[in-house]
């Protein structure tokens, strides 16, 4: 961060405007190749093929059947790459479980970072052109920059091509946007480093010890916090860095844990992903403008794939189906009654199922998951062990801050202060403090695993 960022940023602002996209592309590829140089090749294949198909589709606009063929070819390549590099191991493991295939070798392919994100971006590009919502990008440099843009490469948001097309061609970086970016980046970094990492440590300690009923719940709640602050922290950093380079991305999270229902939660959680599935899967399938069984089938498809997108493992599919069931129930069975309940109960209902959802999400091994769930719902492990209570007690101040951070409370208070000069000072101090503290924690824990690496 302290080597790459200043160098890239320095050069970016020194060179003339027309070279900036090309420079960004090179910087992106260096960033991407840093961990696994080979994966740059896969990305290059994706960029090249989609670039060419984009141009072809545009060229044959008016000839529907030919356009379709190109779309299908490009989708086969995109999803083919995704299938091979992300899901081959999973499917071969399932096949190997069947006697006839048991002699099949175990497939173990390393997952290229960010492939789920950039594949989805490439697909959005192709379909937008097909639908005539966007023009094909003539410059491979600009297209490559879009697919590989380093801030959002690893953890999103998934940026639709139409939203960014104009900025690729002519963007004007300005100081106001840059300052916004600094603010957002610092907030994101603090969310990730100060909150998510520490909540992760709490979750790891609780998971590794005898905890008891209350302890196991607090452990799971810590994980619930970790995954949100980790993911939204990365998204904020991406948006912040994007702004510093003159790009505007959509907001990816909107305080998901203040939702009153699961339906609302999915409108607030990972918005760029749910939008993608809505626009490119749910609505093309017919959305909700068909008969009831068809709508339910469409929802089922969307949620199985949403689950599966999160990782090549059975538990993610179960997790998707879990949300499918909840959403169908809310839509057709008890949604109406839920709305009439006191809002406190609605919040508790939503949070309860969100937390249980993360339990399914976390444990890849169903046996382990059931063991943990049984801890959460029986008194086999007692209420809480002494050691677990001691750990949780020591995290209490951090948990309090985290809870406040899940709500718009701080932002509302901030907006209400009228003394702008005071705010400016406080803001500058907070940015410095945030940067120093995050640097300190990062330097201290060279151990810093990223939760969303599998996407």
């Amino acid at each position: 961060m302290f080597l790459y960022l200043p160098i890239v940023m320095g050069i970016y602002y020194i060179i003339p405007k027309r070279y900036r996209n090309a420079f960004l592309l090179i910087a992106n590829l260096v960033f991407y190749g840093w961990g696994e140089p080979v994966f740059v090749i896969i990305m290059a294949i994706s960029v090249l093929s989609n670039y060419i198909f984009g141009l072809l589709i545009e060229k044959y606009r008016g000839n529907k059947s030919r356009m379709r063929v190109f779309v299908i070819f490009s989708l086969i390549i995109s999803f083919g790459l995704l299938a091979v590099f992300k899901y081959a191991g999973f499917f071969s493991d399932i096949l190997r479980g069947i006697p006839i295939f048991s002699a099949m070798p175990k497939i173990d392919i390393a997952l290229p970072i960010g492939i789920s994100f950039y594949t989805f971006q490439a697909v959005s590009y192709i379909i937008d052109i097909y639908r005539g919502e966007a023009k094909a990008q003539k410059s491979i440099i600009k297209f490559g920059t879009y697919i590989s843009f380093f801030p959002q490469l690893i953890a999103g948001p998934i940026v639709r091509y139409v939203d960014i097309a104009d900025m690729l061609d002519n963007r004007r970086e300005n100081i106001h946007q840059f300052a916004d970016g600094v603010r957002l980046f610092t907030i994101g970094l603090s969310k990730k480093v100060l909150i998510a990492n520490n909540m992760g440590m709490l979750w790891d300690s609780v998971r590794g010890m005898e905890s008891g009923l209350l302890g196991s719940w607090i452990g799971m709640i810590a994980y619930t916090f970790q995954i949100y602050f980790d993911f939204s922290g990365y998204s904020d950093m991406a948006c912040g860095l994007g702004k510093m380079f003159g790009f505007e991305f959509m907001k990816n999270f909107n305080y998901p844990y203040i939702s009153k229902s699961i339906t609302e939660f999915w409108r607030r959680w990972h918005i760029s992903l749910s939008t993608w599935f809505r626009d490119y899967v749910y609505i093309p399938l017919g959305g909700n403008r068909c008969k009831l069984p068809c709508v339910i089938f469409n929802m089922f498809v969307v949620w199985v794939f949403t689950g599966f997108w999160h990782g090549a493992s059975l538990n993610f599919i179960v997790w998707g189906i879990y949300y499918f069931v909840l959403l169908v129930l809310e839509k057709y069975v008890f949604g109406r009654y839920l709305e009439k309940l006191p809002s406190a109960i609605q919040h508790i209902y939503a949070l309860l199922f969100i937390i249980l959802g993360w339990t399914i999400f976390y444990f890849e091994d169903m046996g382990q998951m059931l063991d943990y769930v049984s801890l959460m719902f029986t008194l086999d492990g007692g209420i809480i062990t002494k050691n677990c209570a001691s750990i949780i007690l020591s995290y209490l101040p951090m948990i309090a801050v985290t809870v406040i951070g899940c709500t718009p409370l701080a932002k509302n208070m901030w907006d209400r202060v009228s003394n702008k000069r005071l705010l400016a000072t406080v803001q500058a101090v907070l940015v410095v403090l945030g940067l120093v503290l995050c640097t300190a924690q990062l330097v201290t824990q060279s151990y810093n695993p990223f939760l969303y690496f599998r996407f």
Partner: protein
């Protein structure tokens, strides 16, 4: 106004990241980290193959984090942040009362297996066997710990181990009550070891007619910062004194690490008092095999199988035996039962800190 505010933020950010880069480039790089007791990453080697197998990238990352400007300061900021946001002990060390930095409780992963290995060894030797487990500081200094701390398993582990060991005819030496009743400092504040006084207290339990404190010439040396200090990264804590219980007549020491042999005429290695890590003043730290000979005593030949706790205890014990051999299983590659057969020891004493007993696997390699 609005614009000025934006400019300030932009300047803060760019100044921060650029100054870090600049300092990283300009500041001199040290090769070792004293607090971590390890060599720091060397500059990465650039070549086509190192780029493509990812080692250049990996080494660069390590090099950057290892030589980050003001690394120790940042680590301390992080530790104090953890401490003041309630998470005392999160990095494995509690900041206790009166300047005590105390390790958090150990996990008992290998404890049972290690005790069994000692029992099996005791079955086949003809020498008397003695077992002394040194409890961790946290289990003894209950009143020095912060109010909110995890439970120390030491008592139940030691009770269980001792009652089992006694069934195998091993003599056990329990120092817990003596240590708890002691008003003098038995553990260092910035290190996990017992103090010389602590070792002396344990020594009195091991022999029949121990020497009195007045028989020794006790000298105190300041400025000792030990392991728990390094681990905690709370650089504002005060240093310890390290005491040397010197005896007018010294003994001959032979230190052997594999084929390397070194003969010395003193059991204290005062040159170590000059460096930051002062505990190796006792027998030059840990070695695979050490022999101490005291010609003032005519007979008695014992073996101590040990970790670093015994280093400060051996100088007391040697007053009572002609030959004292020490073996550290973390470094010793030969077989202890063979050594026992060759040397025909009168007595074999196992002296282990509970943390080594619970968390390492080397004790399995007795025979």
């Amino acid at each position: 106004m609005n614009k000025a505010r934006d400019i300030v933020l932009a300047i803060i950010f760019t100044a921060f990241i650029f100054s870090m880069l600049l300092m990283f480039v300009l500041l001199p790089k040290s090769e070792v980290s004293y607090n971590e007791k390890r060599n720091l990453q060397k500059p990465p080697v650039l070549s086509i193959s190192s780029i493509f197998d990812g080692s250049f990238e990996g080494d660069t990352d390590k090099y950057l984090t290892d030589h980050f400007p003001f690394r120790d300061t940042f680590v301390a900021i992080s530790s104090y942040f953890d401490l003041y946001t309630g998470r005392n002990g999160v990095n494995g060390v509690y900041k206790g009362k009166d300047g005590y930095l105390i390790n958090t409780p150990v996990s008992d992963k290998y404890f049972t297996a290690n005790i069994m290995a000692i029992e099996d060894f005791a079955k086949q030797t003809r020498a008397d066997t003695v077992l002394m487990i040194v409890p961790t500081a946290g289990s003894i200094l209950e009143d020095k710990l912060p109010k909110n701390h995890m439970e120390y398993p030491d008592n139940s582990l030691i009770d269980k181990a001792y009652s089992e060991a006694e069934e195998y005819g091993i003599k056990t030496v329990d120092i817990r009550d003596k240590f708890k009743g002691e008003t003098e400092q038995v553990y260092y504040k910035t290190d996990h070891h017992w103090t010389s006084y602590g070792a002396y207290t344990a020594y009195k339990e091991l022999v029949q007619n121990p020497y009195q404190i007045s028989d020794f010439d006790v000298k105190s040396y300041g400025g000792f910062y030990g392991t728990t200090y390094s681990k905690s990264a709370l650089w504002h804590e005060k240093s310890d004194n390290i005491e040397i219980f010197d005896y007018p007549k010294s003994a001959d020491v032979k230190i052997c690490d594999g084929t390397d042999e070194k003969n010395c005429s003193d059991i204290f290695f005062f040159e170590h008092l000059k460096s930051l890590d002062k505990y190796p003043v006792f027998l030059d730290g840990n070695h695979a095999y050490t022999r101490i000979v005291n010609n003032d005593v005519e007979n008695g030949k014992i073996l101590i199988v040990k970790d670093s706790y015994a280093n400060s205890l051996a100088p007391f014990l040697i007053r009572h035996y002609n030959t004292l051999d020490m073996v550290d299983l973390r470094y010793y590659t030969d077989i202890v039962s063979e050594l026992d057969k060759k040397e025909n020891y009168d007595k074999i004493i196992f002296i282990y800190g509970l943390s080594t007993m619970a968390e390492t696997t080397d004790i399995n390699m007795l025979y």
